[in-house]
């Protein structure tokens, strides 16, 4: 994509700097004026720009918001997951790793020995939740602070996901 030829005044640079300063200052002082006015009860009609004081103040999520995954549990606390690999198959980022094992109860038969999600790779598309035939994986934890000091720590294991 070719960039637009700059005009003479733009190339002078100094004028553009002041234009930018004016724009920023306009919003800053305008908002300050509106906030002060509301605080003093002078003008109730115009609201100033809103900033959430994160992390003390948190924005409410929509119930459909896709946050960090969790694995749901059976009544006895074991994972509902039967390691059918549907989520692993559908995952477009290939970030789910499941290894299946033989469950002692023949009515359950199969369970995940290993269930890892690499959240550093995950694209939070929610396909895994949709694909799951057992309602075993959900993205309703509301946890969005997923940060770590290494890539390895971004891999969540079954015990992390069950909490």
């Amino acid at each position: 994509m070719g960039s637009r030829e700059l005009s003479f005044t733009e190339r002078l640079y100094i004028i553009e700097v002041f234009k930018g300063l004016w724009l920023t200052g306009h919003h800053f002082f305008g908002n300050m004026k509106r906030h002060l006015a509301r605080q003093l009860g002078l003008n109730r009609l115009k609201k100033g720009a809103v900033t959430f004081q994160y992390p003390e103040e948190r924005r409410p999520f929509s119930p459909r918001y896709r946050s960090r995954h969790r694995l749901t549990k059976r009544d006895n606390g074991s994972p509902r997951c039967v390691a059918c690999m549907m989520c692993e198959t559908v995952c477009p980022a290939h970030c789910i790793y499941i290894v299946a094992g033989e469950h002692p109860d023949p009515n359950i038969e199969k369970f995940p020995v290993r269930f890892d999600i690499d959240l550093g790779v995950c694209v939070f598309c929610g396909f895994c939740v949709e694909a799951c035939p057992e309602d075993a994986i959900r993205m309703d934890t509301g946890i969005v602070e997923i940060a770590a000091y290494s890539r390895k720590e971004m891999i969540y294991h079954i015990e992390d996901l069950l909490q």
């Binding site: 039967v82 390691a83 059918c84 690999m85 549907m86 692993e88 198959t89 790793y97 290894v99 299946a100 094992g101 033989e102 023949p106 009515n107 359950i108 038969e109 199969k110 290993r114 035939p133 057992e134």
Partner: protein
């Protein structure tokens, strides 16, 4: 030869053909569970119902023979409704545990439901509970809830393996597959019941929960388990290495070949693939120095092998070098061995016949006593000119000191027994071992070169009937390993010969020109089902 019409297409078929067979020739799909071309006709599942004009009721296509002027419809609304109704009955007590079922993805209940069912379930009652995950033999696990009582497995043990281990017991809705009293499903062909089971009732214990079937890629190959050369498909998992501990080859399935194995393979062959991803695989080339193995790059080690070979030839002479090839190698491997060692270096002591001290036995169906896939090919390629017999050398009390032994895939310790093998190996100054897996012989060698297994290479095997069949590459060679013909070519290059084969096809082209038994054969002519070459013993050289 009656002529009939199926869905407005007419076809003439031999007398005694059934509608389902005639439809197959016309590529018209008729759903079926109990019908299997290799077994007798049961007509019990009723999935193959078709409409025949002038017959008021539906006819099972598997059990109705064609007659002159018959007009069959398989796709009318009436037929579709009937098939969907049959499927609904078959699925009444089905547990729908596809998420845990290993058959999911290759299950004909799933397939036919999507094609012919797509109804909403009307089953409001409680489903009948039955035995689940029941181990019925060393290789097979039974889930009677998933069973639709097609009786294919029962007919298989009665008609093909003649071992009569399982049957259908009880009556009506209580019917289920059980083992006969005091028996377990333990015969050398038990794995085939898993293949023919159209649903997830019989699944493989070896493959159980290892991997989902849709992760697998299929490669056409030949079973290297014995000289029968059964046609197989290698199912490998190349994309998701976290399954089954990184094993790449997940299972083998038989592939239909009317001339060799039909639909079946034996369990020994089916489960004999484990060595491919075994920890005992030799993945790196190495030399022994002061009793310890030193891993080097493949080219360095091949260079070292070339030096040793040149040294032996120049210092002592041609009769101080012995090459023991193997009937486990492909025709291409053997040809390059013959060309380099036999023709270019002029060695005469090349053989592949090692007297096996623990000879296995075959059976009267598929398994052969000769457990090597390419004995016939090795005879054709290696035995036509030199009269050297390794057995004589092995049995001789040798006084002269031999220089170099080059072993290809030959575990002498296993075939000859430890004492004899050690005695034989000690006659040599230097032993080169080219092989895929570690064994007691490879450990005794001075220099080891890693070769690829049959799943990692291309080539051809000649079975005991003289049928040349093609193997294809399913997975990449492990580590530094290479197909044996490439290793030998590199060794030849190290000694200054020009070997620049690009692929196995080129080697085969030269093989077909040079070896009389393979004349007029072309690599692409072999195809998926192989080509039979004229009786080798009768060919006039």
């Amino acid at each position: 030869m009656p002529t009939l019409t199926i869905n407005q297409k007419s076809i003439t078929v031999p007398d005694g053909t059934t509608i389902i067979q005639a439809a197959e020739k016309l590529d018209i799909e008729i759903p079926r569970y109990c019908y299997h071309p290799g077994l007798s006709i049961a007509g019990s599942c009723r999935m193959c119902l078709v409409e025949v004009e002038k017959i008021p009721k539906f006819q099972p296509a598997c059990n109705t023979r064609v007659s002159e002027g018959m007009v069959v419809h398989t796709n009318t609304e009436k037929v579709k409704e009937a098939v969907s109704g049959v499927l609904e009955f078959l699925l009444i007590n089905h547990p729908l545990d596809c998420p845990v079922c290993d058959q999911a993805g290759e299950c004909y209940l799933q397939e036919y439901y999507m094609k012919f069912g797509l109804y909403d379930s009307r089953m409001d009652e409680n489903k009948i509970k039955r035995h689940k995950a029941e181990i019925i033999g060393p290789h097979v696990i039974l889930d009677t809830e998933r069973c639709i009582l097609c009786s294919r497995c029962v007919r298989f043990v009665n008609e093909v393996s003649h071992s009569h281990e399982i049957g259908i017991f009880n009556r009506g809705s209580q019917s289920e597959i059980r083992l006969l009293p005091g028996k377990i499903l333990d015969n050398n062909y038990s794995g085939n019941v898993v293949d023919i089971c159209p649903v997830g009732a019989l699944t493989d214990r070896d493959f159980r929960f290892q991997c989902r079937v849709w992760y697998l890629s299929e490669t056409k190959s030949i079973c290297p388990g014995c000289s029968r050369g059964c046609n197989i498909s290698i199912h490998s998992n190349r994309q998701r290495p976290h399954h089954a501990g990184g094993r790449r080859v997940m299972r083998l399935k038989p592939r239909f070949n009317a001339e060799v194995n039909h639909w079946w393979i034996c369990d020994e062959g089916r489960y004999g693939y484990k060595f491919i991803d075994d920890p005992s695989r030799i993945s790196l080339a190495r030399v022994k120095e002061k009793g310890e193995f030193l891993v080097l790059t493949l080219d360095q080690v091949i260079g070292r092998a070339g030096e040793k070979l040149r040294e032996a030839l120049e210092k002592v002479g041609r009769d101080s070098v012995v090459v023991v090839a193997s009937p486990r190698l492909t025709n291409e491997d053997l040809f390059v061995i013959r060309k380099f060692f036999g023709e270019d270096l002029g060695l005469s002591q090349i053989d592949f016949r090692v007297p096996d001290q623990n000879l296995a036995s075959g059976d009267d169906f598929l398994l052969r006593a000769d457990r090597n896939p390419n004995s016939r090919g090795a005879e054709a390629v290696l035995l036509d000119e030199n009269g050297f017999d390794l057995t004589q050398l092995l049995s001789m009390e040798n006084s002269r000191k031999l220089q170099l032994l080059c072993l290809f895939e030959q575990d002498l310790t296993k075939t000859l027994g430890e004492a004899w093998a050690k005695k034989f190996l000690q006659q040599f100054e230097y032993v080169i071992y080219v092989g895929s897996n570690e064994n007691e012989t490879s450990v005794l060698s001075h220099l080891t070169l890693p070769s690829a297994t049959y799943a990692e290479t291309e080539g051809t095997f000649t079975n005991f009937e003289g049928r040349v069949q093609k193997i294809n590459q399913a997975v990449e060679p492990l580590g530094d390993s290479l197909p044996t013909w490439q290793i030998v070519s590199k060794l030849a290059c190290a000694l200054g010969y020009r070997y620049n084969y690009e692929n196995a096809e080129e080697v085969f082209g030269e093989l077909a020109e040079r070896v009389v038994e393979f004349q007029d054969l072309a690599y692409e002519k072999i195809g998926d089902s192989g080509v039979e070459i004229p009786d080798i013993s009768k060919v006039q050289v």
